[in-house]
Symmetry: D2
Subunit: 376 residues, 4 copies
Amino acid sequence: MIGGGNDAFIGAIHRHAANMDGKIELVCGALSINKDIAIESGRSLFLPEDRIYTSFEEMLEKEAALPEDKRMDFVTIVTPNFAHFAPAMMALEKGFHVVIEKPITLSLEEAIALDQKVQETGLILCLTHTYTGYPLVKEARKMIQDGKIGKVRKVYVEYTQGWLSRLTERESAGAAWRTDPKKSGKSGVMGDIGTHAFNLAEYISGLEVTELCSSLNVVVENRALDDDGAVLLKFNSGATGVLMATQIAAGEENNLKIRIYGELGGIEWHQQEPNSLIIKWLDKPMETYRAGTGYLSDIGRQNTRTPGGHPEGYLEAFANIYRNFAATLAARIDGSSVNSDVVEFPSVREGIRGMAFIENVVKSNESTEKWVKYEI
Amino acid sequence: MIGGGNDAFIGAIHRHAANMDGKIELVCGALSINKDIAIESGRSLFLPEDRIYTSFEEMLEKEAALPEDKRMDFVTIVTPNFAHFAPAMMALEKGFHVVIEKPITLSLEEAIALDQKVQETGLILCLTHTYTGYPLVKEARKMIQDGKIGKVRKVYVEYTQGWLSRLTERESAGAAWRTDPKKSGKSGVMGDIGTHAFNLAEYISGLEVTELCSSLNVVVENRALDDDGAVLLKFNSGATGVLMATQIAAGEENNLKIRIYGELGGIEWHQQEPNSLIIKWLDKPMETYRAGTGYLSDIGRQNTRTPGGHPEGYLEAFANIYRNFAATLAARIDGSSVNSDVVEFPSVREGIRGMAFIENVVKSNESTEKWVKYEI
Amino acid sequence: MIGGGNDAFIGAIHRHAANMDGKIELVCGALSINKDIAIESGRSLFLPEDRIYTSFEEMLEKEAALPEDKRMDFVTIVTPNFAHFAPAMMALEKGFHVVIEKPITLSLEEAIALDQKVQETGLILCLTHTYTGYPLVKEARKMIQDGKIGKVRKVYVEYTQGWLSRLTERESAGAAWRTDPKKSGKSGVMGDIGTHAFNLAEYISGLEVTELCSSLNVVVENRALDDDGAVLLKFNSGATGVLMATQIAAGEENNLKIRIYGELGGIEWHQQEPNSLIIKWLDKPMETYRAGTGYLSDIGRQNTRTPGGHPEGYLEAFANIYRNFAATLAARIDGSSVNSDVVEFPSVREGIRGMAFIENVVKSNESTEKWVKYEI
Amino acid sequence: MIGGGNDAFIGAIHRHAANMDGKIELVCGALSINKDIAIESGRSLFLPEDRIYTSFEEMLEKEAALPEDKRMDFVTIVTPNFAHFAPAMMALEKGFHVVIEKPITLSLEEAIALDQKVQETGLILCLTHTYTGYPLVKEARKMIQDGKIGKVRKVYVEYTQGWLSRLTERESAGAAWRTDPKKSGKSGVMGDIGTHAFNLAEYISGLEVTELCSSLNVVVENRALDDDGAVLLKFNSGATGVLMATQIAAGEENNLKIRIYGELGGIEWHQQEPNSLIIKWLDKPMETYRAGTGYLSDIGRQNTRTPGGHPEGYLEAFANIYRNFAATLAARIDGSSVNSDVVEFPSVREGIRGMAFIENVVKSNESTEKWVKYEI
C-alpha cells in the first residue's frame, strides 16, 4: 500500500475492504511521506519491520528485487489525487498490478498516459469506483442490458452532500490543498463526487455522454473551488439526463441517487439504502428487488456475502471491487479464468472517461454556449 | 361553474374540493358547450332547470340580471386552457369574483390583461395552483420565511409523470388539440406540470427566478409538443436551482418533489406523501414534521381538518384553496376580515409568473446562449 | 344529523365525508342536547330555521310527519357511544335509514337488539368503520379472497396512538365520562381503537376470530379504564394472529397497520400511508400496489376519485362509506340495484362482532385461563 | 476456529467479521468433523498445514502445548448448537478465551455450567448476538439509560422471516437434525430467532422479563418443531411487551424490528435499515438519528468505521463484536484497559438469559395458565 498512514482516512477503508474476504493480505507499505508516520503506521498494521518503507520509490525498487514468490502481488495507491500518477507509472514499469483510489489522476493527460502503459505492460489496473461495487447497481445494469425497461430515455443522477456547508478552518488557512489546483484538480465538486455520479450513470445505463451543459457555483464565500453544480446531459443513444452534485446541501450525508427511465419502466437506486432496487412499471405495480435474494441474476447474486435481509453496505461494495480484482488476478496467476461478466471492476477506461467529464464540465461552465461536446 | 360537464375530469375535482367544507354551494352552471351535455350534467348535479345554462355568456348575463341576494357569488372556470380568458374577462366585467383552473390563460399577454381587469374592478381572482394548498407546503414556506434553515442556497424541484410514455390514439389522430398551439400553449410539459413545479419553488423559497437555461425534448416520436425538459435556474437572491419536469418517466404517477437547502439545513417535501415534511439539519438529527400536529405554526395547523395520522390528500389541498377563497369572499361580503397570512390562496400574480415562465423556458430552449433572462 | 354540534369533533368529519361527492345534502339536524348550541350550529350549517331541532325525538317525529318528498331520507347519529341506541331504534321505528358512528352501541345486547329491528324493518343501517373505506384495504381483501397469497396463516394488526400518554385535565376531573362505564363501555383502548383493528383484520382476511387471550393495562396512573392492551388470536381457519392496541405509545399518531401472511406471500398496509399496499412474495420481488392505478381490481378502482399519485386520505375513505351507502340507498329508492361486491359498507353485523370482541377481550383479561372462546 | 468448514454458512460470516478490522488473524482451525473437508477448508483459508486440525480436541491439545507467543489467543466456536458446549468447556479448561456463536448451548443447564467455568477461570467469553453490535442499537440503549424517553412503558419486538414457509427436502427427510430435539433444542422459532428478539429487547430497554404468556405453532404441516410464535411479556419495572417471531411470514427476509415507548417518546429500529434510528416524541417532530454522524454519543460513534451516509450493515455489526472483544483481549494481554461502557459485547449472562427464555416460553406454551414466571 502506498499512502494510507494512520493520519489518513481512505487508506483504512481500503484495508477494511481488502481484508474482508480473506483473499488479500497486506504485506508491505509506504504508508506516508512522513517517515515517522510511515513507520508507526506500518507497525500498527503488524507489518514486518523490513517491509515498512518510507517512500514509494524505495518500496517498488525493493519489492521488485525480491524473489517472485516473496514479493507483493499488487500495489494499492491511496495517496491524494496529485500523487497517483507517479507511483502508478512506476509500479507498472516494475511489473506490479495496480489498484488506485479514484480519481485516477490529476488530469486527463495523465490518465491517457497511464492507459498506454497499462496496454503496453498487459498488467491489471483497478480503479476503486466504489459505487459500482454494489450488487443492486450491477443488477440494474444487467436489467437495462437485457432490455427489461426498454430503450433508455431519461437519466437523473444526483449526489448531494452537506459537509462543505461551512468554510472549515483548514480551508480558510491559506495553504490548504483545496486552494491549489495543482493538487486538487480543476473542479471541486465534480472531481470529488460528480465523477461518481457520472460513472454510475454510464455504468448502469450502458450509454455514453456526448454533449453537456454545466453550471458550477462557489456557494460558500471564500472557497477556492466550486462546491456545487448541475449538468444537463445528452447521451449517444439520444437519451438525455440531468446530473446534480453539491456539497453544500446542509443536512445531506452521502446521498447518491439514480433514476433511469426506459420505454417500459424506470429503475431507482439510493446509495443510502443500497439493498433495495426499485423498478416502476408503466402498467403494473412497482417492484422492489432486494439484495441477497434468489431471484436476482448471476451478477447480482454473486456480488453479495449474506442472504436477503442481512444488509450489506459501503464496505462490502468496496470489498466487491477488491474481491473481483483479486479473483481476476488469482486466475491470471494460476492460468485459469473468471467469468468477467460477473467478476468485474472499474479500470482505466472509467478513469479516462471520468477525467474527461471533469474537463468538459469545466469547459462548459466557462462557456456562454449552451452545449459543449464531450471530448476526450 | 363554466365547463366541467360529465365528460370532463377537472370539473369533478373542483366540485369535490368546493363541496368538502360545506361553505360553497353550486347554484348554476354552463357546464359544456355541447348543449345536451350541459343540460344532462346540470341535472345530475341537482341544479334547478332555470339555472342550467348552455353558454357562459348566457349564464353571466342572466345571473347578473338577478337580484343580488339570488345570484351566484362567484364563478369557477374549468374549461380547457384556451377558453379561460374570455369567460374570466366577462365575469369580471359583470361584477363576479372568479376562480380559474391553472394555467390562468393561454398566453402571458392574456394573463396581463386579466390582471389589469382585476385591479380595475377590485374583484377577487383565485387561481387553483393546488399544490400550494397542502398544509406542509405552507409550513415549509413559513419555516423559510422565519429563517429556520438560514439563507436559501439551492432549490431542486422535480415533477415526474409517466402517463405520456406512449403516444395515445387521441394524440395520433391528426386534429387532437395537443397539436394545436392555439389550444394548448407553447410548451407541453412545462405548461402542464412545469409551471406547478416553478410555482411551488417560488412559493416555498420566497425567491424569484431571474435567469434560466432550459432544454426541452419531444421524446415520444410524432408527438407535437415537448413531453420532457429540464431547466437550470438562478434566483434573485443569488441562489440557484434545477427544475425537472417530464411526462415520459414510465412508472411515475404524479411525483412532484421539492428540496430546498439553506445555510443551516434543508427541507424536503413529496406530494405523494404530503403529510410529512422532512427537515435535515447540518448538525443535528433529521426531523419529520407531520400534518395535523400541534407543534406546527398557525398556517400549517389551520389548513387541515383532521388530527395527525389521519392523512389528508390532494382533494383537501384543493379544498384549502376553495376554503380560503370562500372565507376571504365571505369576509368581503359581510365587511369583516381574515388573517391573510394564514387564509391565503394563489391569484393573478402567480398566473402571470407562470405564463412568463413558460414563455421564457421556450425562448431559452430555442436559444444557443446558455442563459436567458426571465422577463415578463 | 343527530349530534355533531359546533362543540363536537366527529360530526364535522361526517359532514366533510358526506358533502364530498355532492350526493348527500344536510337538510335538518338535532345537533346538540344543549338548545343554544343546537340552534347556533344549525344556523352555521345554513339549515332552515324550521328544521333545526333541539332533540332527536322532536326531529324524528316532525320529519316523519312531513310528506315523503319533503322529509329527510336518512339520519346520521354522531352522539357519544351511550347515546347511539335510543335514536337509532326510534329512527328505524319511524322508517328512516340510519348511519351510525362506531362503536354501534354501548353493549353487545343493544347491538343485537338493533340488528333485530333492522331485520324487522328491512331498512339500511350503515356503520362508519372508516378504515374499511380505503380503496387499498378493499383491494387487499379482494386479493385474499382471490387466493393470491394462498391460505392465510398469520395476521398481525396493530393500532398505536400516543395521545393518552398523559392524564388530561378532563380525565382527572372526577366526573369525566371516561370514568363512567355507563358512558364509555367496558374497555378504553379496545372500545376506542382495538375494535377498528379487529374489524380490519376480519374484513381483509375474510376470517373470524374464535378464541383469544388478552392482557389489558392501565398504564397512566389514575386512569379509570385501560389504555393499552394486546390480544393473541385464533381464527376459524386455523390461522393465528396478534392484535396490539395502545394509546400510550408516546409519539405515535394514528398508526393502524396490518400484515397478513399466506402460503405464497404477505400483504402489508399502513393507514398513515394509505395509498400504497405492499405485497411481499415468497419467490419474487416485493410489489407495491398504488391507489388510483389501472391495474387494480374493480373494487379498488371504483373506491377512488383521483388518478394515481393524487393522494386520497382519511376523509375520502370516510366519504367512500357515505358514497356507497348513498348509492345503495338511491338504488333502493328508484328501484334499481348496485353491485354490492364493489359498492359496500359496514353494517350491523360488523357492529355486533365488534361489541362481542370488546366483551370477550375484557372477559379474557379477567381470566387466569390462557384461552377464552370468542362468543356472541 | 472450530467448525466453519467450506460447507458451512456461519463460519464464513465469522471470518468476514473477524477479518474486517485487521486486528484478528486466523492461525489454526478444526474446521469440520469430516477430515477431508477440514483439510481442504484449512488450505483454502491459507492455514499452515501443521495447524489444520481434524478435531477440536486435537487442536486444543496441540495449541495449548505451543509456547505462549506461538499459540492462538482465542478460539471461535461455530459448530451447530449441540456441539457448542464440549469444545467451549475444553477451551476454557485449556486456558483459551472463547467466542461462541449463539445460542450459547443446547440447554440452560449447560449454559449455567459454562458460566461457572468462566467465573472460575477468569477467561473472556464472547457470545455473538450480532444485532447488539449495530451502532444505533447501542445508541438506543444509551438514550434509554439516559432517560431521554422517560420511564419505559411498552416494548414491541418482532422478528419475521419467510424462508421456512415451505417444508424443505432436508426437513422432510426423516433424519434431518431439525427433527431431533437433542440437536436443535426445545423450540424451533424461539431458539433460532426469538432469542435474538428477546436479547435485543432486554439490551435496549435495560429491563428484564419476569413473566410471560406464549403461544407456539407448527404452521407448516409435518414440521417437527414450531415455526411461529408470539409471547406477551411483563418486565421487572412494570412495563409490558409483545414479542413476535415467525419463520413462515412468506416474503419476509430478516425483519427484526423493535419499538420501545417511554413517557416522553418512543424509539424505533429496523434491522433491515440499520443506519437510521427513529425517535418519535410526544410534543415535537419525529427525529431520525443516523449512524456515522457527529451528534451521536460515544458508544454510537465508536462502533462505526465510516461517516454518515456510507451504510454499514450486518457484517459490520458482527465485526463490532469481534473488534470490541479483540480490543478487550488485547488490553488484557498488555495489561491496559478499555472503556467497557463503549467497548462492550455480549457474554455468558446474555447466553443464560436467552436459554432461560426458550425454556420458559416452551413451558408457557404447554400450560393452560395465562402467565408463567420467567425463571432461571
